[in-house]
Amino acid sequence: MTDRPAHDEQNHKMQEEHDREAHDHDEHGGDESPTAEDLGPDQVSGDAPVASRWRGHAKLAGALIAVLVALLGFAIAVQVHSNSTSDSLSNARDDDLIRILDDQNSRAERLREQVAALQTTADQLQASGDRDGVAQQQAEQQAQDLAILLGTVPATGPGVRITITDPKHGLKAEDLLDVVEELRGAGAEAIQFGSVRIGTDSYFQDSSTSVVSVDGQPLSAPYEVLAIGDAQTLQTALEIPGGVAATARAAGGDAEVEQAATVDITATRTVANPRYAKPTGR
């Protein structure tokens, strides 16, 4: 832009200085580097017409530079923007895209395997939950059954109502026990003797204060016995010759058996926890 020869001389001096202090002489070649070789013949030789033409168009050159640099700034901004906002895949190369796709595929495969494994686990847990539910239902049912048989809960159902009269007090504890035995033998599932629920550990005892006591509770005639079971079978069992009814009649009393569609046994008994016997598995 200034006087060409002076410029060149200064240039050369400067170049020497540069060569001395830096050996990157080649690296600043090309663009604006000040080496004589790089400046090209037209500039080194100070080709007057060319130079003057460029100097004449200084304004144009300035505008051109401004445009180019503005373009550069614009490109930088656009690139930075597109790099940071748009998803990075659109800028990726085919190789990278294939690699990413492979990665995603293998990842999806892994996740699918995980899903399958977890699904299996869930199914197993579901099945075991169902099994647990069924087992619990069965256990509850069994507990109910046992409670009825043990006499810890009230019970209702078809059965017989027996009224034993004994005006002469001729019936002993063993005769009354025979009633229970007979009912049990006929398949009675729940028995109430007077106000006492008969259980596995019930006992009959002759008593001095009253005629007889059941499980320590004194009872006296007439005895009312309730039994749940097959009514016909129970009645037959009680009235067989030489059976309970016959015994009562022989003792001067009577045993009246009445079948009922619904017998409500409300008396219950408590069951003590076993002190010695321990359950052993199933």
Binding site: H7, Q10, N11, M14, D24, P34, L68, F74, A75
Partner: protein, 110 residues
Amino acid sequence: MIALVALVAGVVAGLLLHPTVPGWLEPYLPIAVVAALDAVFGAARAWLVKIFDAKVFVVSFVSNVLVAALIVYLGDKLGVGGQLSTAVVVVLGIRIFGNAAAIRRHIFRA
């Protein structure tokens, strides 16, 4: 000075307009930007040592961008686009560092 103003104006325009880069330009724009940066650093250095020449700058700027884009294009066609882009960036980066070092020496004398 006018260059600095133009650079800022360009950046502002790019930020304000939010243009989307067309698909065919996407592989070339980053390389072109680096190449142009190389030219600008060379120009800045030349300007500092007072041998700036507008013609050299304009020609080097345009040719740098074009050659860089051409190399990337060729690389893509040959199937070594990624590696060639890296190579171009490395070479231009070295040159930018060299020019920056010269500018630093000139300004700070160190």
